[in-house]
């Protein structure tokens, strides 16, 4: 009936890829009613120095969605607790809490998208802009020779890697590096191009 206790949200989990973190949970079903959810977080600082206080995420207060982008609040490399509760009218559930902590150091890092461009004799690479937390390590080599490395801190513009000789192919691969968690992705697929007779060739 009306006063039956509202069940707490279940199956609370985090999906974290490339330093973007999303909390999701299973919907609480109440026939004919709109259920709303609210999310709170607690960092290690709050646990150890601020009386285990919880902080609400206002963008995820009384929402109907069952997912919340918590990226902006998970902005330190410490262990976080997260919890969700449900509201229907005046009825409110207990908190459902994420099992275990979440530390962004566990985010999964995918190889960057990369476009290799042979612009005449110039070897260029365009990298996916993944946000300020990301740097890139780009390896490039003339086929059959040692590779060279270039660290790219700003992916917003095309990067000039080398001036190519006519004839041999030049190959490129890249990985991301996130200083805040001191981790790198695996390398992207290798892409090879050859110097062009003055025309641009894009290879996706």
């Amino acid at each position: 009936g009306e006063d039956a206790l509202l069940p707490a949200p279940q199956n609370i989990s985090i999906l974290s890829t490339n330093m973007k973190h999303f909390l999701s949970w299973s919907p609480v079903i109440v026939q004919g009613e709109t259920v709303r959810y609210s999310v709170e977080f607690q960092g290690e600082y709050e646990r150890d120095y601020a009386n285990e206080s919880w902080i609400p995420i206002c963008e995820c207060s009384l929402i109907t969605a069952t997912v919340c982008n918590i990226t902006e609040d998970i902005s330190a490399t410490v262990a976080y607790n997260l919890r969700v509760r449900a509201d229907v009218g005046t009825r409110r559930s207990e908190w459902g809490t994420l099992k275990g902590f979440f530390n962004r150091i566990t985010t999964s890092l995918t190889p960057p998208l990369m476009k290799v461009i042979a612009d005449g004799c110039h070897l260029l690479v365009e990298l996916e802009d993944m946000g300020p937390a990301f740097q890139f390590c780009v390896l490039y080599w003339k086929k059959g020779q040692e590779s060279r490395q270039k660290v790219v801190k700003d992916a917003s513009s095309v990067v000039h890697l080398d001036t190519m000789e006519a004839g041999p192919d030049y190959c490129v691969k890249a990985q991301t590096y996130v200083e805040a968690i001191n981790r790198s992705s695996s390398f992207s697929q290798t892409q090879c191009v050859g110097a062009q007779g003055g025309t641009s060739m894009w290879l996706v």
Binding site: Y49, T77, E179
Partner: protein, 153 residues
Amino acid sequence: RCRVSMSMTEIRLGFTAIKASIVSIQARDPIKTLSILSHPQSLHKVKSSDRCCITHHLFNFYVDKVFKHCKTEDSYINRKISSIANSFLSMKKKLRQCHEQNKCMCGEESTEKFKQILANYEGLNVTSAAIKSLGELDILLDWMEKSQRAEHV
């Protein structure tokens, strides 16, 4: 040497987002006092050999004393303070490891310098002192970034 990777960018972004609000809270404080971090001597006068110790002391200071007294009515500011506090806690733990491995030794000068900062802080009522210290975070961040650059030269 104590080698600790610090993501200053995130701390700086978090602080920049709330600096104006913190300064306006401070402006309501009738007591106009001197700087907590820079009085009487600027952080920039600290010898390079003392930098690690002063940094370690200051991270402990902010985590142990300052942030807990900075709660505001504004949930956005509280969230940003939380992210700065958790970043500082992460750094504090790394610096403690350096200290335990004798890589972050404290000379007399840095100990004196930190005592002065504590005296400045304890000369005010706790909430004013905490908000003022929070408002001066950019002094600390500027000094740390300048020190980092100096070490790379």
